[in-house]
Amino acid sequence: MNTIDLSWWQLGIAAGLVLALAACTWLAQLRVGRPLLIAAARTAIQLALIGFVLEALFAVGSLLWVALMGFAMLLLAGREVVARQQYRLRGGWSFGIGTLSMFVSGFTITVLTLVVIISPQPWYLPQYAIPLLGMLLGNTMTGVALGLERLTEGARKGRGEIENRLMLGETWQQASAQLRRDAMRAGLMPTINAMAAAGIVSLPGMMTGQILAGSSPALAVKYQILIMFTIAAGTGFGTFVAVALCARRLFDARERLRLDRLSP
């Protein structure tokens, strides 16, 4: 079964819908017209570019280039985690912690899934490796960003409580336990909600794409379940690592709360 080809003018019709929406937001004075159009343009340009990159990567297919692509994606995800923080750790710590935690979870789980579960030949076959890594990193990034955001904001707002706990002789782990729990929960909730609602409220994007591209729904469903589980694991472990490291960094060797390490 072949996919029906899409030509550029057909995409133009969809673009017309976005333009119509932009016109309406302008009329309603919502002040989101510009960001909407810029975001739409970015979608088109970024996806077109990644299309070229993937075409080239699939043609070459060597481990070196797949790995380079993977690391580039990882660093971009790390940058995005930082960009989503209102308060970040000074001195590049937020980027370091975000990137490291995504490397530990997203990267490892992708490699594990490729080698042990899907096992394409060779295991780094870019048609499998890149989309899988992309989905994992994208979701892990969200979890890590939410977890860190809740942690740093909670530390700022809950300073009185944390320091009063320290004054009573609690260790930094005890004083920050509730905060770390909240942060980890915040990072995990979107994934849990997505798994709970999968197939009922929404058809997941990847499964939809696979079905549109001609896969049998049964196979698409299996892949989707696999992706959901790996995303849950990746997001969960990534958030754990990120929240643990960031919480440690919020306290110094004397177990003082060091909010001065956060920059506004």
């Binding site: 009063n164 320290l166 004054m167 009573l168 260790t171 004397r254």
Partner: protein, 201 residues
């Protein structure tokens, strides 16, 4: 029973603070607002970066992990924080006697934290700190939110406890009359240092 000794402590605008508070002594500290009284207490509790040495008996501040130091040298802040639903969850065990001494009934353990008045919070915070048996006390305006009767009650209780348990105490106070009632010695913050003042007792 040991003394609390500050040697060349510097934090914020304060420089080279020297104080030696003997066991069971109440040393009152006063000064205009913003002069760094609370920050000095935070530095002694090692919650704030600072220079100089603090010693409890023969133990250096840096020789103990932060939490061990703070459970020995306990700071009671002017504004206390409460994080559980009820009062009792903030205490280890049920030290009913302590509640009685600050003028609260044993049922106060069941009270909702959200319904406490500022005066009740302040008395409970003192009881909570004392229930952990600190070796030294840092009190930041411990009666600021109390009415006249409760101020008197808490003052008596604190003085008795501090002398009985031989706790060296640094007490930040605003009112001259309170200082005259409780202080063994009194220091006032002047020009980034502390200067001893006369006390009648």
């Amino acid at each position: 029973m040991s003394n609390l000794k500050l040697c060349d402590v510097a934090v914020g605008d304060l420089e080279s603070i020297q104080l030696d508070i003997t066991a069971g002594e109440i040393l009152c500290l006063s000064g205009p607002s913003g002069s760094g009284k609370s920050r000095l207490l935070r530095a002694i509790a090692d919650l704030e970066l600072h220079d100089g040495q603090v010693q409890l008996g023969n133990t250096e501040q840096s020789a103990l992990p932060g939490h061990r130091w703070r459970s020995a040298v306990m700071l009671v802040p002017a504004e206390s924080a409460w994080w559980h639903e009820t009062v009792g969850e903030h205490f280890k065990g049920r030290p009913e006697q302590l509640l009685e001494q600050v003028g609260l009934p044993p049922e106060a353990f069941e009270w909702q934290v959200s319904r406490l008045s500022s005066g009740e919070k302040q008395r409970l915070a003192l009881a909570r700190a004392l229930s952990r048996k600190p070796s030294a006390l840092l009190l930041d305006e411990p009666t600021a939110n109390l009415d006249k009767d409760n101020t008197q009650l808490v003052e008596h209780w604190l003085c008795d406890t501090i002398r009985e348990q031989k706790i060296p105490t640094l007490w930040v106070a605003h009112h001259e009359d309170q200082i005259q009632r409780v202080a063994d010695r009194h220091f006032h913050i002047e020009n980034s240092g502390v200067k001893e003042q006369a006390v009648t007792s």
